[in-house]
Amino acid sequence: MHAIHVSGLTKTFGSRRALDDVSLTIAPGEMVALIGASGSGKSTLLRHLSGFVAGDCGEICICGEAVQNGGRIARNVRDLRSHIGFIFQQFNLVGRLTLLTNVLTGQLHRIPTHRSLLRIFTRKERDLGLQALAEVGMERYAFQRASTLSGGQQQRAAIARALVQGAKVVLADEPIASLDPESSRKVMEILARVNREHGCAVLVSLHQVDVALRYCPRVVAMRDGRVVYDGPAAGLSPEFLKDLYCCDPEAASAGAPPAGAPEPVALPLAA
């Protein structure tokens, strides 16, 4: 069974093809980088994988279950999302809640609603949260509000949230694009450890090719909504990379994290 299976996924925004017949298969326990210039469709693909957006056609399965098929999002998408840890560029923690509460939200799908709505967590559930925070080295800040912490610290807590979730697949959308180099290194190392020790399949979109090459054995490159390379990191030639980023010179200068502009997000809660 594949961790992630995408076939023939197409999405148009107006007249622009954001995703053009994308097919992709990722096995359990793989760590894959998704690279490409800004606007090449990396974020859009990840958002489709977790069922935030419906494609025009094509099918997406996570752990063998269909998230969407032919433009229709599965009815049980909320159940399926519980298997997917999603790491956002802007962390998306709730600033006024403590780090621990933020992390505990990872297990909302396992807790009966009457208890979760009153924010009552059992001792065991709290311990799980603290344990996850310890794993990313953030247990000291468990009772601080998320908004009081730096970007790198928030991103590590966001990974702890995915751990508490018990995710089998981790999707990371530019997780280090707004972090300094040292925080970026820590976050990438934690992601690599999650992949190694928890056996999660990790698909991480990155703007920096050097980071992708260092952490991911396999690389998927996108351009104008199409997969233009899918194979071992070693197989990427400098000419290909230069060509891939031809319209995006700032990313070609490796190392410097560009201010990746997040794509506009429409967010009706009833989705």
Binding site: I84, F88, N92, V94, L97, T113, L269, A270
Partner: protein, 267 residues
């Protein structure tokens, strides 16, 4: 002279002259409305001067204030505050769901449009009117006042609450959604923490207003200090009226100060 002439020749029909004509028209209209309303409101400034002796005598009647029945007045004032407390609490309980349901980023249009109109209706009718209606339903007394404040305040708070909800950052909500949480959990963990400070602030502000309103709904018989105030005014007992007014002012001031302090620490 010479510099002004070309400007006119460039744009002879519009621009400067047209806008000045327009503003003249608006001023004429404003003055017209004022004159028209003056007649309707029967404003007679001469009466203030002509009857100044009456006014002085009337004002003198208020002093010194007569605090003989202060125990009764204070206990009625406490009832007034109690009316305001329950009117506000019940309104908050209703305004939370109604506020969420009238937020365009939470509910679909076919829900939030009718809910908003319902809240508009609750807000449009003054609490005095509701008080008179509820007196018919539940009889004279403070409970009618509570019901009146409840309905009116629900309309106001639901609107204020939903405006706060519509201004939230959607990203944390998406973070909660990504964990597989259901819609209610998204609201409790993603939305409510973001709007809480504003909601509390609005609630305290409405509580202050409701203490003032509660002292008026009594005038139609819905309990509290308003009943007393109405009685002493109708019996021309201005020394007592003055005492009652001073007690209201003292209570309202203290409550305003306390709630302003609480709101300041929250923001």
């Amino acid at each position: 002279m010479q510099t002004a002439t070309p400007a006119k020749t460039v744009d002879p029909s519009g621009g400067f002259s047209r806008s000045s004509l327009g503003s003249l028209l608006i001023w004429g209209l404003v003055l017209g409305v004022l004159a028209w309303s003056w007649q309707g409101a029967e404003i007679r400034p001469m009466a203030l001067i002509g009857d100044s002796a009456n006014m002085a005598e009337f004002a003198a009647g208020f002093f010194p204030p007569n605090f003989a029945d202060w125990r009764i007045h204070v206990s009625e004032m406490i009832v007034t505050v109690q009316i305001a407390i329950w009117g506000t609490v019940l309104a908050v309980v209703c305004a939370v769901p109604f506020g969420l349901l009238s937020s365009s980023n939470i509910a679909p249009a076919w829900i939030y449009q009718p809910v908003r109109r319902l809240m508009d209706a609750a807000r449009a009718i003054n609490e005095m009117v509701f008080a008179m209606l509820f007196i018919v339903a539940v009889g004279l007394g403070p409970f009618a006042g509570v019901l009146a404040l409840w309905v009116h305040t629900t309309g106001i708070l639901a609107k204020l609450f939903s405006e706060a909800v519509e201004a939230i950052d959607p990203q944390p909500v998406e973070g909660i959604r990504a964990t597989g949480a259901n819609v209610l959990e998204e609201i409790v963990y993603g939305v409510i923490p973001q709007v809480m400070p504003l909601w509390v602030s609005y609630t305290l502000y409405r509580f202050e207003s409701n203490v003032r309103s509660a002292s008026v709904v009594g005038m139609v018989g819905a309990g509290g200090i308003g009943v007393t105030l109405y009685d002493v005014i109708r019996s021309f007992d201005y020394a007592q009226t003055c005492a009652v007014m001073l007690i209201i002012i003292a209570f309202v001031t203290v409550i305003d100060l306390i709630s302003a302090r609480i709101r300041k620490t929250l923001m």
